[in-house]
């Protein structure tokens, strides 16, 4: 097995466990924003899309990369935007808005 794979697996396992511990603590109140936020974070795939599109190796890979740039960047922008909007709506009882 390639060394790159082993180091990636290492990172994957650690991040998976960390994610488990962190997400267990998220209140059920915020499960919808949790999903939209992780979606936005996952859109970091856009960096790989930018590189494969920008390397310009073959016409096909560039085209696929460019579609991926648009798809993942729309997730990044839309995901953060809607998470932000949702969290703005959650307010505590005491701090009543006028």
């Amino acid at each position: 097995m390639p060394a790159d794979f082993i180091s990636s697996l290492f990172v994957f396992i650690l991040a998976g466990f960390l994610g488990f511990e962190l997400i267990k603590r998220v209140s059920p109140l915020l499960h919808t924003p949790l999903m939209s936020l992780t979606n936005a974070l996952d859109a970091i795939v856009v960096v790989a899309a930018i590189i494969i599109a920008g390397r310009h190796e073959t016409k096909l890979s560039t085209l696929l990369g460019l579609i991926a740039v648009a798809a993942s960047f729309s997730n990044m922008v839309g995901g953060f935007l809607i998470t932000d909007r949702m969290l703005h709506m959650f307010r505590a009882g005491k701090a009543k808005k006028p």
Binding site: S8, G19, H31, L41, V45
Partner: protein, 458 residues
């Protein structure tokens, strides 16, 4: 330069972890989103300076296109959040799959067996998540029927389809140069995604959407393996773990196993139908009577369900909350984990209607309070309040944790008609002596109660 880019990715990973950590409470959650935005922005900017990137024009154009698609999707109404979420799973999986496909065409025929395995798995998961999420979004948007679509031998057909995709991948490991095998593998995986979600009905959507969330995350993580990009591995693992935990919570809340959700469409289960034919009487009440009962209570628990979302009644419910609270009555909301069409759906709708989040309690928190509750008001929820889940071992939902509304002194249920719930299961709650049925549209009926409360006062 490369080092600087790497450091920006490490900073991004730290930001992602903090973002999730701060999401644990509504107080710090806004900060979490901000750090997530900064982290992602830094990583994207740094990538644009990567020396491998030589052609900018189209990247900038597609980034603008992406933003132009993303902004309206970020501004949808809160009732449309479930389908928006499904659509974003589709986009995420699509981009992961496309990059994997691009890597295949760049690498072939010089891919090692191991590289082919990584790319193959990544593309299979990405493709099936793409079509599966599109079907889910279509069902949630009601373009496609919400009913589970099933046929005989479905599981065999579906599993063989997945098996075919895996076999094609194994063949590719030996002959990575056979591009038509690769194309066939993609098509079969896309087809499997459709088959995976069509047999699943509306009430199971919270589980499915979480599961697709998890798949989208894992496809991104696998892409990280393919490209040896640790930032993708971390982001994908976090997203995958999140979706996985949510799916487990949803499955537990329905007392069903993963395999049961995936391979057993709920609508098919038609047991204990015999009881339903019995003539039983229900008591119904008018808005005036309902308002009078609420006004006389000390403690009220409102239980919202998907029916509230469908009727868009959340703002009227807020008016009811205000009207009852003004009289010094304690009002809380009891929210079942699978109420609605995605995890946390009810909370977001009620928060949108400006109800303070400390009044929104989840099942475990509220269940102990029902015996001291004067009135439990059920708005558009059915199966999650069905006491048969506790008592009737022949019921298809037996064992499912429910909100114990039947322990309140009086139960009022706003419901369109006596029709059974989504799962087609009779609810004995409606025939109890303490239960009053309030027949009508949730929005109109709650509005009528609000008017009665306001009129009767002063």
């Amino acid at each position: 330069m490369q080092q600087l880019i790497d450091f920006s990715y490490i900073a991004a990973v730290v930001g992602f972890i903090l973002a999730l950590k701060w999401l644990s409470s509504p107080v710090s959650a806004m900060r979490g989103v901000l750090i997530g935005e900064i982290a992602s922005g830094v990583a994207v900017l740094a990538t644009l300076f990567d020396p491998q990137v030589t052609h900018y024009k189209w990247i900038i154009i597609t980034l603008i296109i992406g933003a132009a698609i993303g902004i309206p999707l970020g501004l949808v109404k809160m009732t449309a959040v479930p389908q928006r979420t499904a659509l974003s799973h589709a986009f995420g999986a699509l981009s992961a799959a496309l990059i994997g496909i691009g890597e295949y065409y760049v690498g072939t025929p010089h891919l090692t067996k191991f590289e082919m395995l990584e790319i193959g798995l990544e593309v299979i998961i990405g493709s099936l998540t793409f079509t599966g999420s599109l079907i889910a979004a279509g069902k949630l948007q009601e373009i496609l029927p919400q009913r589970p679509i099933t046929y005989k031998g479905q599981n065999v057909v579906s599993l063989s389809t997945l098996g075919a995709a895996v076999v094609l991948m194994l063949m590719l490991m030996v002959h990575p140069e056979y591009t038509h095998l690769f194309q066939a593998m993609i098509l079969v995986a896309l087809l499997f995604g459709v088959m995976l979600v069509t047999p699943i009905g509306g009430a199971d959507m919270p589980t499915v959407i979480s599961l697709l969330n998890s798949y989208a995350g894992f496809s991104a993580a696998l892409l990280g393996f393919v490209l040896n990009s640790k930032v993708l591995v971390v982001a994908g693992a976090l997203d995958g773990a999140s979706g996985f935990i949510l799916s487990v919570i949803m499955c537990k809340a329905m007392n069903r196993s993963f395999t049961n959700v995936l391979f057993g469409a709920f609508g098919q289960v038609q047991v204990s139908a015999g009881k339903a034919t019995e003539e039983r009487t229900v008591r119904s009440a008018t808005p005036e009577e309902a308002a009078a009962i609420l006004a006389a209570a000390n403690k009220v628990v409102i239980v919202p369900g998907y029916g509230m979302a469908v009727a868009q009644a959340q703002h009227k419910v807020r008016e009811l909350f205000d009207g009852v609270t003004k009289r010094g009555i304690d009002v809380k909301f009891g929210i079942h984990p699978v109420a609605g069409r995605m995890p946390g759906h009810m909370n977001v709708l009620l928060a949108e209607a400006d109800i303070p989040y400390d009044k929104l309690l989840d099942m475990d928190e509220i269940n102990g309070e029902f015996p001291q509750t004067d009135v439990a008001l059920v708005i558009g929820a059915n199966d999650v309040t069905n006491p048969a889940a506790r008592t009737d071992s022949s019921s298809p939902i037996f064992g499912m944790p429910i909100l114990d509304v039947d322990k309140a002194r009086t139960v009022m249920v706003i419901k369109r008609s006596m029709g059974a719930g989504f799962a087609g299961i009779e609810n004995p709650l409606y025939y109890m002596d303490k239960t009053l049925m309030l027949f009508g549209d949730a929005k109109n009926f709650v509005g009528a109660i609000v008017r009665e409360l306001a009129g009767g006062h002063e």
